[in-house]
């Protein structure tokens, strides 16, 4: 049975974007059709193409269902939050960069440009993680979010500490040390709250 199962990647993709109330129905139908009809009659390669085609054709209706059920505001909120954190980080870093260029000697081996680039990437990654976690209702998405946060938050904190910790103002170091964990905590909090509230798209 394992060898004739539908391709896992496309199945995962569709599962991610389908509302919970339709997941079993749609994926079960596709699985049954694939195993019982399409693969025996068309062969593995054409069956694979059929499955991928069905998944791609179904993505737009699946997304439309989210929007139709009042999820548009939620997607907008997540995108807005992600953009806000990202843009805020960049603006703050630019300001701090200008300030440090004028006033602060840096440690050897770490130029301001490299440090700010890495910091921006780290904070931007956190913002993406939060945005993903706010929209997608899946354990895998929560896992990606936790992984990104776990990787990026220490990086951001370390970079902040490494950029001449002795001479940077204390308020600056404290502020940046708080931003990354705060974003990660907020993202995790949203995920946990949503999971406790149960599957909000279910109409059972």
């Amino acid at each position: 049975v394992r060898s004739v199962a539908p391709p896992r990647g496309p199945e995962w993709l569709l599962e991610t974007f389908l509302p919970e109330s339709l997941r079993d129905a749609v994926l079960g139908d596709l699985h049954e059709e694939f195993v019982l009809h399409v693969r025996p009659s068309r062969g593995p390669w054409r069956a694979w193409c059929w499955y991928v085609g069905q998944v791609l054709d179904s993505l737009v209706p699946a997304l439309a269902l989210w929007v139709g059920r009042g999820y548009a505001w939620r997607i907008l909120r997540a995108v807005g939050f992600g953009l806000g954190v990202g843009a805020g980080s960049v603006a703050a870093l630019q300001w701090v960069g200008d300030f440090s260029r004028r006033n602060v000697p840096l440690r050897a081996g770490l130029t301001p440009d490299t440090a700010y680039l890495l910091l921006t990437l780290a904070l931007g990654g956190l913002a993406v993680a939060v945005a993903v976690g706010s929209v997608v209702e899946r354990r895998a998405a929560a896992a990606i979010q936790v992984l990104l946060s776990a990787l990026l938050a220490p990086l951001a904190v370390t970079l902040v500490l490494d950029v001449s910790p002795a001479t940077f103002p204390l308020w600056y170091r404290l502020a940046w040390m708080l931003v990354a964990p705060a974003a990660a905590t907020l993202g995790g909090g949203i995920s946990v709250a949503r999971r406790r509230a149960g599957p909000s798209l279910s109409d059972e």
């Binding site: 079960g28 069905q54 054709d57």
Partner: protein, 133 residues
């Protein structure tokens, strides 16, 4: 009533027609795919799951509709109370997933009848499109 009296006779007639037939209330109209799905379900004796509906549409019209579009439509029709659904137990052929079986409600039958009547009225007087030679 005073307000209605001020409306000209054609608009009034149109308004009463809409109220009487209840066909043009907001969100009550059936889209093309909704009509197709409802008619396919009627061909399946009023009950079926998404893939069965999809197959029925393909066999009768030659058009391939994605399974996602079929389920999105079924879901919308259920929200409009034109269909109802129940879950069938999971099977190995379905990868351990449950099946959702939809059946048409009396309101669904009425809605499709109204749609067809509306279409028929619009087709009347168009000799090139009607069945008459």
């Amino acid at each position: 009533l005073r307000r209605i009296a001020k409306i000209d006779i054609d608009t009034r007639r149109d308004l009463f027609y809409k109220i009487e037939h209840n066909v043009m209330a907001r969100g009550d109209e059936l889209g093309t795919l909704e009509q197709v799905v409802l008619l396919a379900l009627l061909h399946l004796e009023g009950e079926g799951h998404g893939m069965k509906v999809r197959r029925e549409i393909a066999e009768r019209t030659g058009k391939n509709v994605s399974i996602g579009a079929v389920y999105a439509t079924l879901d919308r029709l259920e929200e409009k109370k034109l269909l109802a659904s129940r879950w069938a137990p999971p099977t190995a052929e379905r990868g351990g997933r449950s099946r959702r079986v939809y059946h048409i409600e009396p309101a669904g039958r009425r809605a499709i009848e109204r749609s067809q009547q509306l279409l028929q009225k619009l087709l009347e007087g168009l000799p090139a499109l009607s069945r008459r030679p």
